[in-house]
């Protein structure tokens, strides 16, 4: 059932390639013996109970957590080996959507969207834009695509939870990354808005051919919106297959207590 990388160097078509990866926090292993290859343009859902290692896995991919063991390659590069300018250039190619926690409440929507460009902007341009917003056209277009074009100059904390989540998506759009990572991006939304959000995310990813790796608590949505589902438990990969191949027994094994 497990699709493990074959042990040789990552193929050209892979966006993410992990081999024998383990991450330890103090005495506890957050991830162990993880092998995972994600092809360019693939849409992968990570599922599993709280504490299974989903967030740690995503943090490995954007380079904010370093592996204790094993090899990590993202977009053909080793995130642990990068520093300074090179690291910034690498991070620019990876976008993240979390629960709205990464947004800045007192800032207007246009600035929250433009924050997606900070990786390419100079400091002077970033500072100037806070006074006289730059690239308003692109920001408006991104908001248009996520369905809230009229909120451009509103303060973010005046928006509803669902609208804030759309702003987070618009920010990733103007960043136009090659991989989008999502850490429970719909955890704070009601089921209907969560589904709508995933519809939107999937549509945008398909349209631009962006690789998608998203952790989800909503098991049904993982099956309906992604082409591959990876089940994690206690830091290990329990299953890794197409949604159609996830057996009820595997699903039960993922969440059952003990």
């Amino acid at each position: 059932m497990t699709v493990a990388p074959s042990g040789e160097a990552p193929s050209r078509g892979s966006a993410v390639w992990l081999e024998g990866v383990g991450v330890r926090y103090g005495d506890a292993w957050a991830l162990r013996d993880v092998d995972l290859e994600v092809g360019v343009g693939q849409r992968v859902a990570l599922v599993g109970p709280s504490g299974a290692g989903k967030s740690t896995l995503l943090s490995l991919l954007n380079g904010t957590v370093l592996p204790t063991l094993g090899t990590v390659r993202v977009l053909g590069q080793d995130p642990t080996a990068l520093a300074g300018r090179q690291q910034r250039r690498f991070q620019r190619r990876i976008g993240s959507i979390h629960q709205q926690l990464q947004l800045v409440g007192p800032l207007r929507v246009v600035h929250n969207v433009n924050a997606g460009r900070l990786g390419e902007w100079s400091l002077a341009r970033a500072a100037l834009s806070l006074v006289a917003p730059r690239d308003v056209g692109a920001a408006r277009a991104a908001l248009d695509r996520v369905g809230i074009p009229d909120k451009l100059y509103q303060r973010l904390d005046r928006l509803s939870g669902g609208e804030q989540q759309r702003v987070a998506l618009a920010r990733v759009l103007v960043q136009s990354p090659e991989i989008i990572l999502g850490d429970e991006p719909i955890a704070s939304l009601d089921p209907a808005r969560g589904r709508e959000m995933l519809d939107l995310l999937r549509g945008l990813a398909v349209e631009s051919g962006t690789t998608l790796v998203v952790s989800l608590h909503a098991f049904e949505l993982a099956l309906s919106h992604f082409e591959r589902v990876v089940g994690l438990r206690h830091g290990r990969v329990l299953f890794d297959c197409r949604p159609a191949d996830v057996t009820p027994a595997a699903a039960r094994g993922l969440y059952e207590l003990h």
Binding site: R88, L101, V104, H111, L118, A126, A127
Partner: protein
């Protein structure tokens, strides 16, 4: 769903004072136009204060003062360390500590009683209860008068008695504490209380069982914060004659013994640092910060907490015997006679056209000093807060600078400023600016430290540089709080302008000193009325301004 709420650990109880206004947070949503109006008003006030303080027009600097200041600076490296003087300093330190400890104790007793009576719960949460409004209003007056002024007035009632210093701190601090305690009681989860009331329990018993335990950690935390403030207040009281470090400082200033001044300043800084370390250790373990730090210890089990509470009680006993406080003085025949005399002479206030005109002029001067001081202090503190929040040598240096600035009370800074400035609002504003820089800087550093790091981390993770991430992720969230603190300190500083006035730096304080020296009690009571009115007016303006900032 609240992505923008965040806790600034240490500062949370101050936030309560600074940010809490009428109505639950977030209900009132000011439009940006009212913000713009306020921004223009604030800018105009600053320009007005700057012009009126005589920027460029009058002769401000006394060139003859520079050599004095130079000699003073040189003495920093050789403070007076003779045995005789050190003995005096030790005695003075104990006295100052005693005033602070006993003053805090009195304020807590008053605060608990007043807090219960001024809480909405006590008045059955009726929306417009006359009793509640009266209780709240009654707390406003003692709060509006500075500790030093209380001291000057109480001397006339109790004579030269150590109780003067204790009550001068206890009464105004008791009123502030009562206000905060009443809010804590009203915000505590009330289900237990309601259930007990429904089961037929009396109000007090139900509060003691249902609300008290919920509010206690925050109350303890606030009590220790008040103790920090009391140390500063006790020093200032010394300057107006109550003995202790402040009194020794005023003597050394009069005889221009710079070496002695430095010894006393060093003691003040160390005393301030020790109190803050103690207070922080306690407040980290209780109150809103505890959940952030993750210890969540309760009062009886945590060793530091239990030791601190026992130590505080022991300090009360020790310092009471050191001062030789005798509460019976309060109701002795002599005190009653003096009080009757004082009130008989002071009331009614003598209201004349000339007196009102003079009061109006000095009130404006007081306002200008406060505006100028907070503008300077706020700008400096905001620009250093980021550095102060960093680890490493620079962060440490900034934090020490801030500590020194706030450990030395404003009248001392004023006396130093008077070396090189002619008496007037400028040295007063400068002294208040330095002191408030220390206080605001600490609060702002705590704001930066307490910010939710996720937005900044998120920006860093997608390739933003450090300064960029600060600009987009941290500053927009910190600025409203910075501004709210500045406004809050402006309100407090209105009270403190009086104490720099006491040493001759202008404003209403100077008038009050002159009137007291001339035994002009009807004039004194009029000036006190003016002080109360100005303070309450500024409180209202400040509350409105802070609502706009929220």
């Amino acid at each position: 769903m609240a992505p923008v709420e965040e806790a600034a650990p240490e500062a949370d109880l101050l936030v309560r004072e600074a940010l809490v206004g009428p109505g639950p947070a977030g209900v009132h949503r000011p439009r940006s136009r009212s913000r713009l109006v306020w921004a223009i008003a604030v800018g105009a006030a600053f320009v007005w204060a700057l012009l009126a303080a005589g920027a460029g027009s009058r002769e401000l600097v006394n060139p003859g003062g520079w050599p004095l200041l130079g000699r003073f600076a040189v003495a920093a490296v050789r403070p007076e360390l003779g045995n005789d003087f050190l003995a005096i300093v030790w005695e003075a330190t104990l006295t100052t500590l005693a005033y602070a400890v006993l003053g805090t104790a009195v304020s807590l007793v008053l605060g608990v009683i007043g807090g219960i009576v001024a809480s909405r719960v006590w008045w059955h949460r009726r929306p417009r209860s006359g009793g509640w409004l009266a209780a709240r209003g009654a707390l406003g007056v003692p709060r509006a008068i500075h500790e030093a002024v209380w001291g000057l007035v109480l001397v006339n009632v109790l004579g030269l008695d150590p109780l003067v210093g204790v009550l001068a701190i206890g009464i105004p601090y008791g009123a502030v504490t009562a206000k905060v305690f009443s809010e804590l009681l009203d915000e505590a989860p009330a289900r237990g209380y309601e259930a007990m009331r429904a089961a037929g329990s009396g109000r007090l018993a139900a509060m003691a069982y249902g609300l008290g335990p919920e509010a206690l950690p925050d109350m303890v935390s606030y009590a220790f914060y008040r103790f920090e403030c009391s140390i500063r207040a006790a020093t200032i009281l010394g300057l107006v004659g109550a003995g202790g470090l402040g009194f020794q400082l005023s003597l050394s200033f009069q005889s221009l013994r710079y070496d002695e001044i430095w010894t006393l300043l060093y003691v003040l800084v160390v005393l301030g640092a020790l109190t803050e370390v103690w207070s922080r250790a306690v407040r980290r373990r209780v109150g809103p910060a505890a959940s952030v730090v993750g210890s969540g210890a309760d009062l009886s089990r945590d060793r530091v907490l239990a030791g601190s509470v026992l130590g505080a009680l022991a300090l009360v006993a020790l310092t009471a015997s050191h001062l030789g406080v005798d509460p019976t003085t309060l109701w002795s025949g002599r005190s009653r006679g003096l009080a009757a005399d004082f009130l008989g002479q002071a009331l009614p206030p003598r209201v004349t056209g000339a007196a009102l005109a003079e009061l109006g002029r000095l009130t404006l001067e007081t306002l200008q000093m406060a505006v100028l001081a907070i503008f300077l202090a706020g700008t400096a503190a905001a620009s250093l807060a980021l550095v102060g929040a960093r680890r490493g040598a620079w962060g440490w240096a900034v934090r020490v600078l801030l500590l020194v600035c706030r450990a030395v009370p404003p009248p001392i800074w004023a006396l130093l400023a008077l070396f090189v400035f002619f008496a007037g609002p400028v040295p007063g504003a400068l002294a208040l600016a330095i002191y408030n820089f220390g206080i605001l800087g600490r609060l702002m550093v705590e704001v930066v430290e307490g910010l939710d790091p996720r937005p900044v981390e998120g920006l860093r993770a997608q390739g933003a540089s450090g300064p960029q991430a600060f600009l987009y992720g941290a500053l927009p969230r910190a600025l409203p709080r910075f501004a709210a603190y500045a406004v809050y300190r402006w309100e407090v500083t209105i009270r403190e302008t009086v104490v720099v006035g006491l040493v001759g730096a202008g404003g209403l304080g100077r008038l009050l000193t002159d009137q007291l020296a001339a035994f002009d009690y009807p004039g004194v009571s009029l000036t006190l009325c003016a002080l109360v009115v100005v303070t309450l007016a500024v409180d209202l303006a400040g509350a409105a301004l802070r609502r706009v900032l929220r």
